[in-house]
């Protein structure tokens, strides 16, 4: 059984009088421990797909299951608790709360658990260590570089040990060097810690590091082996 099961999902948005059909019967499986890159032109529904998996949005029709649980059927309060437990999400920008230090930002998901202050402290330290920012714990986001901010966001996404990591264009605003650092980190998380990662990206380098590349084209899925994706450059 796949970790993420998307079954015959329809998703449409109403904008004024116009209806936008993003997905019309999308079916997709993503296995545990995989590293999937989701590519495709702007407006093809990549973010919408991540949102559906994270339970941030609901399909118009069809089911989304993660770890056997029907995410698409849960209530708002069930979803909040479920996300805290199973999802680590990283956005392109605006990830960190500017009033909190890197440490405090990473600690946020743990506040929702029953862990003691001491246990939280240990986990935050480990997470910051994994992303190589142990020495930046007390820095505020404005004191960090873009790459460091995204690595802090990744530390926050892994700190509660989620089932799936979802990243929506995490390198979209980073320079080439920072992007490479972030991607190398993700690859390490996948290979060393067997984290399941789904990343939306425009960056062919990112796709190269992924084990599987999915192409969305107007809501339709084109699965391509990695070699083809690399050749498309």
């Amino acid at each position: 059984m796949a970790l993420v099961e998307i079954r015959d999902v329809y998703k449409s948005f109403q904008r004024d009088t116009q209806r936008i059909d993003v997905f019309t019967g999308l079916t997709l499986d993503i296995d545990a421990g995989s590293f999937t890159a989701l590519m495709g032109p702007s407006g093809s529904g990549k973010s919408t797909l991540l949102n559906l998996i994270a339970g941030l949005d609901k399909p118009t029709r069809g089911t989304v299951r993660v770890g056997g649980e029907a995410v698409s059927e849960m209530s708002a309060s069930q979803l909040a608790a479920w996300r805290a437990r199973h999802i680590g999400f990283v956005f392109q920008s605006f990830n960190l709360l500017p009033v909190l230090t890197a440490y405090q930002n990473v600690e946020l998901p743990l506040l929702l658990t029953r862990l003691s202050g001491k246990e939280r402290n240990e986990r935050v330290k480990i997470a910051l260590d994994v992303v190589g920012l142990a020495d930046r714990a007390d820095h505020y986001p404005r004191q960090l570089s873009g790459g460091q901010e995204q690595r802090t966001a990744i530390a926050r996404a892994i700190v509660a040990d989620p089932t799936v990591m979802l990243l929506d264009e995490p390198t979209g605003q980073l320079d080439a060097k920072s992007s490479q650092e972030v991607l190398a980190l993700l690859q390490r998380l996948n290979s060393e810690f067997t984290k399941t990662i789904i990343i939306v990206t425009h960056d062919a380098h990112a796709a190269e590091r992924a084990k599987m590349v999915l192409h969305l084209e107007k809501g339709d899925l084109i699965e391509k082996p990695r070699a083809t994706a690399a050749a498309m450059r």
């Binding site: 909040a80 009033v99 998901p109």
Partner: protein, 380 residues
């Protein structure tokens, strides 16, 4: 509580705005406590004030005098057992910055009708014998550093000239309503210096029985109804209240300005809360993505409003409670025994809770209801 740091961090986001909001809440509640205390002090004064004493003034207004000749006619009325009279003097001492009440009284009858004015017998005798003597409340001793037996010169404001009195006695009132920062001197000396005008500012009428008060008051006012100076007789309470309104329309201040200020502050606070909630749309969406529930976010915003409202309340109400005793406030002598009553503190605290609900509710609901996907699209 582990979330409290998050609340504090958010309050620290715009430190100046937070401080100003808290200060405006504090100011509003300080004003509220002050204004309400004027009313409660007057009400308390009325309860202390001798129920067996009535005060007769000129019906036209307190500033208009009555003929001295009324005294004997009032005394002759049934139910009247004692009578004294007094006249507002309004003298300034020194630079006049520290105001205190001073008036001329018919000394012997005045001290008899006010047993609450207590002083050693020898000082009392000395005062009664000394035409230019004065009695002072004990607070004036410390306030001006006066000593028993020294001369004190007041500058007349209504009645011009330098008026020098010898401090013959220092009294301690047994009842806070009397006031311990008043200077009184002989009416006869006063009358002489103003050329025997034969005027009294007000009469104090002692009656035989409290239950006769309305009837006696009516018979006094009836007696002078058709004279050149009709009178108005009421209880001491009413008199104190009129006196207090002379220097500021207290009830007007209370009801209008007080409420307007509290309301204005409410708007300021609500606006500040709304602004900070709006700026944080993206952050709230991120917190929801992490798994913060709608209920938790609602609570966090409410607690934030609550911390501001309650800090303001503690500063404002606590400030009023401590401030007035510290400066020995007694409303320039018109509000003896001025105190911020516990009921005022309770009502003030309720106002603060109301303020918290009113200013926190809208942004808290907004945070709880924020749709994540829309909010994030808006931000990115």
């Amino acid at each position: 509580m582990k979330y409290f740091r998050l609340v504090l961090a958010n309050l620290g986001r715009h430190r100046l705005r937070t401080v100003l909001t808290i200060l405006s809440v504090a100011l509003a509640l300080f004003l509220f406590a002050s204004l309400r205390s004027v009313t409660t002090t007057l009400a308390a004064t009325a309860q202390f004030g001798g129920a067996r004493r009535l005060v007769t003034t000129n019906a036209t207004g307190l500033v208009f005098p009555l003929p001295l000749a009324y005294g004997n006619r009032i005394k002759a009325l049934p139910g009247v057992t004692g009578l004294s009279w007094a006249n507002w003097f309004g003298g300034k001492y020194g630079d006049g910055k520290r105001f205190f009440a001073n008036f001329a009284v018919d000394a012997e009858s005045y001290l008899k009708i006010y047993p609450e004015i207590v002083l050693p017998a020898d000082q009392r005798d000395a005062f009664l014998k000394d035409r230019t003597g004065a009695l002072i409340g004990k607070r004036l001793l410390s306030q001006f550093g006066w000593k028993l037996g020294q001369n004190v010169t007041l500058q007349g404001t209504i009645f011009p000239g330098d008026w020098t009195f010898t401090v013959d006695g220092v009294y301690t009132p047994t009842d806070p309503a009397i006031g311990d920062d008043v200077l009184i001197f002989h009416h006869d000396y006063f009358d002489e210096r103003i050329g025997r005008a034969g005027i009294a500012g007000w009469y104090i009428v002692e009656i035989d029985d409290v239950s006769h008060a309305p009837a006696v008051a009516k018979s006094i006012d009836d007696l002078f109804r058709n004279s050149s100076s009709p009178t108005k007789t009421g209880t001491e309470r009413e008199f104190q209240a009129t006196f207090a309104t002379m220097w500021g329309n207290v009830s007007f201040l209370m009801s209008t300005i007080g409420l307007a200020v509290v309301f204005a502050i409410l708007l300021v606070t609500a606006n500040a809360m709304m602004m900070s909630a709006r700026e944080r749309t993206g952050e709230i969406a991120v917190l929801k993505t992490i798994g913060f529930s709608d209920r938790l976010l609602f609570a966090l915003v409410m607690v934030e409003a609550g911390v501001m409202a309650l800090t303001g309340a503690v500063l404002g109400l606590g400030g009023a409670k401590l401030f007035y005793p510290a400066i020995n406030f007694n409303g320039l002598g018109f509000l003896p025994g001025f105190t911020v009553a516990p009921s005022t503190l309770i009502i003030g605290a309720l106002v603060a809770i109301g303020l918290m609900l009113a200013s926190g509710l809208a942004p808290a609901l907004r945070a709880a209801r924020l749709p994540i996907v829309q909010a994030l699209r808006h931000v990115e």
